[in-house]
Amino acid sequence: MSEPRFRVALAGNPNVGKTTLFNALTGLNQRTGNYPGVTVAWHAGVWDLPGGPAELVDLPGSYSLSALSPDESLVQRLLQGVEGPAPQALLAIVDASNPERNLYFLSQLLDLGLPTVVALNMGDVAEAKGISVDAAALERALGARVVPIQAHRRVGLGELGRAMEEAAAAGLPGRGPGLPVSGPGAALPETIRGRYEWARARLQGALTRSRARQRFSDRVDQVLTHRVWGLLALVVIMGFIFQSVFTWSQPLMDGVGSAVSWAGGMLLRPLPPGILKDLLGDGVVAGVGSILVFLPQIAVLFLFIAILEDCGYMARSAFLMDRLFAKLGLSGRSFIPLLSSFACAVPGILATRTIADRKERLTTMLVAPLMSCSARLPVYTVLIAAFLPGRLVLGFIDERALVLLGLYALGLAVAVPVAWLLRRSMKAGGAALFLIELPGYKWPDPGTVARRVAEQCREFVANAGTIILSVAVVLWVLGAFPRPASVTAPFRARRAALEAAPGPASARAEALAELERREQGALLRQSWLGRMGRAIEPAFEPLGWDWRVTMAALAAFPAREVVIGSMGTIFDASGGEGDPGGLRQALVQARRDDGTPVFSVAVALSLMVFFALCAQCASTLAVIRRESGHWGWAAFTFGYMTALAWGAGALVFQAARALGLG
């Protein structure tokens, strides 16, 4: 394919079908990335024009170029070539059902003086609202080609290509009002009024209004934003999404897990047993597995997020919930990202992209991992089952249910002051303005939704994946070395004795497997990781942790749920990971060097509270780094969450011991 001949920037207001048009024009031929230093994603693709390919760059949707927000100043810098190469032509998309405000932005675009073609979209919606815009009349008024299109039905795209080809060849800009686009003059009241007057004058001969039918959107909103039914609908919709995330993604996650271990086994079968095989199997394959296992949840959750966004409900959820978040310096836009984080913080953090204000977005991102995600649940359930007998509190509440509920509430309760403090400390530079358009409802475009989901999954694997994989390999090395002969020799001797002993083959295999597990445990306790656990044991003494517990917590850095498997190995649980009964028994029977039990109710509680608040999840930290554009924010999240987790764990341990649960 030949090189693109020139660059066209696609600009327009949000919610006017810009992404749908971009996808329709460029097909699968797209590249995506992030603008340097900012957290705004760019998309570029190849648009096949009659005279050959051109590059089409999709700019973030914006209402103005006057740079009152960072995203808008980015659009302005991109269009004027301050950031990256300047475009040679402009494709402006305009919503025919809301012509005045769309022409306000168009007036700024035309004043840039680039060859411009206007795509007049959503004529069908306009008609239902009793609005009709005559493209030919508007074309004469603007001095630029105006092509009526229906992006979601792929109508008018050929004509749009021909118009762009001609406009770019002729190099003729449209006629804007000639008011300042940047600098101090751009945001003056006179300038804004001047642009709206210009817009009204251009629409004079082109716009006709007739009686509107009662709009579908209005009828839907009478229910969905109603003060009773609206909240009820929100609960039902979110409940349905959560139910689906768990029922759909759980089998998929299990499937991914088995597929990865099966594929790993097949790949490694030809290798002789030994250290290389262990590295590949327990380090690399397990690392790949811990990346891929996230994908079903990310995909399912993002499917819903993309649908909610594309159909227009996202804005309503923000409208309904804004009041609860306003006091924290956040807004209703944080609602879906934070709620999603109860399933998994990774898609939750990715969903913060819909928050326009940067500080608000960063705050949401940094508190999202405090929501108790599904990976914490196995940690809670194993420890609760092992150490809480299920006494009744106040005569009718099961203490196990109470503790579980408390752990979920804890994250939420801690997030409130943390968000407030973060937002306050970032306040400098102007408060965020909550101003959101409530667009008309529409059927989500399957192509747009599918692309969004695929893009998020791809980005997660490509960017977070490499980090998670390296963390998994490093931790494997720390846990596997050194392997002193003093530890392995006795096991080797016992293995040889077992193999030589008479008896049924199945019993022998079982005994060998048990021996293997015990050797792993002995090696792990001897390993660098074990030494690290011992070294930092004093730091965790206020939480009542034995060094082996500390070590299990360290080993869980790649992903929280790993703590269960590591404790199984460290405490020599029989039956391996698939047997929670064996693990429970091993935990209950574990003894310190002085013969006292490692675990008590107080230790179990402090461990659970620690895991409720800690940031032991490499994926989350990798995604925070990626989305905030900076390692510092990931380090900050890890630091503040670990500090909180430690403090709360110590508090709970000391309190529980004082109450006689030690």
């Binding site: 209402y63 103005s64 006057s66 009152l68 059902s97 809301n98 012509p99 005045e100 405000r101 306000y104 609202k129 609005i131 945001a187 009241p189 804004i192 009024r193 709206y196 934003t225 109603h226 003060r227 009773v228 609206g230 909240l231 804005a315 923000a318 409208f319 309904l320 804004d322 009041r323 609860l324 306003a326 209703g332 102007g430 303005l433 909550f434 101003l435 959101i436 358009e437 409530l438 667009p439």
Partner: protein, 76 residues
């Protein structure tokens, strides 16, 4: 004709923008979104917890908080 601020419009009530109490960045942004002298505004509804508000501006629906709405003088 009476003058009141936008946040005091009753649900379903319409009015015309008369001016701004204070024209900071918020006010300018509201102007860019189509709220300036002479614009016709209708209060559509309030969110279940009383804030934010949903208004009709020109041909579209906008949600804004009471604090910002209180900057806008309306003649009804």
């Amino acid at each position: 004709m009476e003058t009141l601020t936008l946040d005091r419009l009753e649900d379903g009530q319409s009015g015309t923008v008369h001016g701004f109490r204070r024209l900071g960045p918020s006010g300018l942004r509201l102007m860019e979104m189509g709220l300036f002298e002479g614009s016709r505004i209708t209060m559509v509804r309030r969110a279940p917890l009383g804030d934010p508000l949903e208004i009709q501006v020109g041909d579209y629906r906008l949600s804004l908080r009471r604090d910002e709405a209180a900057l806008v003088d309306i003649a009804s």
